[in-house]
């Protein structure tokens, strides 16, 4: 079959709603777009563990300690599952896990703006669980219909786990909202700090050429703005019902347009944070990842060179 015919029949499958599998023929553009998207997703999960890592040792009750440990473990687990998907996609291009990880601190792969930000208080850790994970679910749920089968299957599990995270975050927030004055104040301060980042999380309003291509291949099906509107639909009433003030006086629902009007985040500032790794915590967290990876290469080497079977261990 000529490449042209292969491409035509590939697009036919996409249009018919079929899932593409790792071993199927696919256009190189499709492969590269998938790698870009899923690599960033994987790395965001892994880097997403760091803001909360800072609060795992400080969780204020045994129940919270167990919950936040389990939550951050899930994030690492998602990172691992997604990396496996990217590894398969990247294998024909000669890229390995080692590079996919070192790309993080070489600045070759981006991760979500929210994970460049500081987690300054326990309330921040709660808001991350509630609203950052809430935003992530909206994003990830919209990808469940993606045309790439392995990604769709991993997303199914991720979404199920993320919904627990959101409940975990919501539970922390409720305790603070119903707590002492100081607890309520720290919650409001956390919301003020995170709001702009949360709006930016969904990306620019305009549909970029890459996003357009992803929609062409049905890798993703919704625009950034559609997802941001969904987030506002879901969370504005919830935030307000807790008696919290959203730090945007212009925020309102426009009935005629059926959409939210909001004060746009500082696009320039946040895109600098994501593309140049210029957030308040970018450098520190990338250094942690670098140390974990490079300083412990000897451990991975020891494992590779001297395989022993587990059954002989006991």
């Amino acid at each position: 079959m000529t490449e042209e015919k292969q491409y035509a029949s590939f697009m036919e499958r996409i249009r018919a709603g079929e899932k593409i599998e790792a071993t199927d023929w696919m256009p190189i553009e499709y492969r590269k777009l998938l790698i870009k998207l899923i690599h960033m997703h994987a790395v965001s999960e892994i880097m997403g563990a760091y803001p909360e890592k800072e609060w795992v040792p400080r969780a204020p009750s045994l129940r919270r300690k167990l919950a936040i440990m389990a939550k951050v473990q899930d994030e690492m687990g998602h990172g691992q599952l997604l990396l496996r998907v990217v590894e398969d996609l990247s294998a024909p291009l000669g890229r390995t896990r080692e590079e996919l990880v070192s790309d993080i601190y070489h600045g070759k792969v981006k991760f979500h703006n929210v994970f460049h930000m500081e987690a300054r208080t326990w309330a921040d850790a709660g808001v991350i669980g509630w609203l950052v994970d809430g935003a992530a679910i909206i994003n990830q749920a919209s990808l469940l219909e993606t045309s790439y089968g392995p990604y769709a299957r991993v997303l199914k599990r991720i979404c199920a786990e993320e919904s627990f995270h959101m409940q975990h975050g919501e539970n922390i927030i409720l305790a603070l909202a119903m707590g002492t004055d100081a607890q309520r104040q720290s919650l409001q301060t956390a919301l003020d700090y995170w709001w702009e980042s949360l709006l930016f999380f969904f990306g620019p309003q305009e549909v970029t050429p890459a996003a357009k291509q992803m929609m062409h291949y049905q890798i993703r099906l919704k625009t950034n703005e559609e997802l941001r509107q969904k987030f506002l639909d879901k969370y504005v009433p919830r935030i307000q019902s807790l008696g919290l003030t959203i730090p945007d006086l212009s925020l309102r629902y426009d009935d005629s347009q059926k959409k939210w009007r909001y004060q746009a985040p500082d696009w320039h500032k946040f895109s600098q944070i994501v593309t140049q790794n210029k957030g308040p915590k970018s450098e520190e967290r990338m250094l942690l990842r670098k140390k974990a990876h490079e300083d412990q290469q000897w451990v991975r080497e020891a494992m590779r060179n001297h395989n022993i079977s587990i059954s002989s261990a006991l």
């Binding site: 009750s61 140390k291 974990a292 451990v299």
Partner: protein
Amino acid sequence: MNNINDLRYREVLIECLYQMADDKLLLGHRDSEWLGCCPDIEGDVAFSSIAQDEVGHATFYYQLLHQLGEDDPDRLAFGRDASKWRNCMLVERENDDWTYSITRHLFFDQFDQIRLQAMCTSSYEPLQHGVKKMIREEYYHLLHMKTWFKQLGRAGGVATQKLQQAIEKLWPDVNGMFSFAGIEEDLLRFELIQLTPTEMRVKWEAEMKALFQQANMSWPGEFPQLKHDGRKGEHSAALKTLLLTMGEVYQSEPSAKW
């Protein structure tokens, strides 16, 4: 002989539960410090799973203590002065490198398995039930740590050198696990436990000597005498720092609900 109304019985049971709870919470806390910092992502997921088991076990013991009239579990975990902690020193030490953390865990898990098995027929039924369940989980921790230990030992080069250093650094703390701070005879008399500390150590040595051999590591010899006994509330600066971190949010408003 289960006589919960016997004052001395209660006293040694409570003391023993503190030893077990504190061991577990600190080890789990130390494990969780590895989050995001393990040599590979798979290792991260595994260590975190183990950390959760440990903190879960600690929570179980603190609940038993609460049922026996001790303070609320959270207050025990987050509001107690270092001198009140009854853990062995081994688990409070800072993590150091991968070989240290793995070997510390291995040493402790082997001890814990022996201690748990010696409590399978404990005269205190709530403890006996919990112990049986925990043994099933601990089996996998021990398997995990033994696998790592052997592989690091056989790898040669940097890994094995570091492993050797870790063993030497840990060795003075081994004896501390087997201290029961004076309640050991009563524990036996009340049939709360079935082995003496010496019997436990003999079992531990036999298991570990076999493993050292398989890992091509040489046995460091006698255990040094204990200088400080964590089970008697004698602790290092590392514990104080850990408790300050662990209690930071809780202590900011101890009466608040979190």
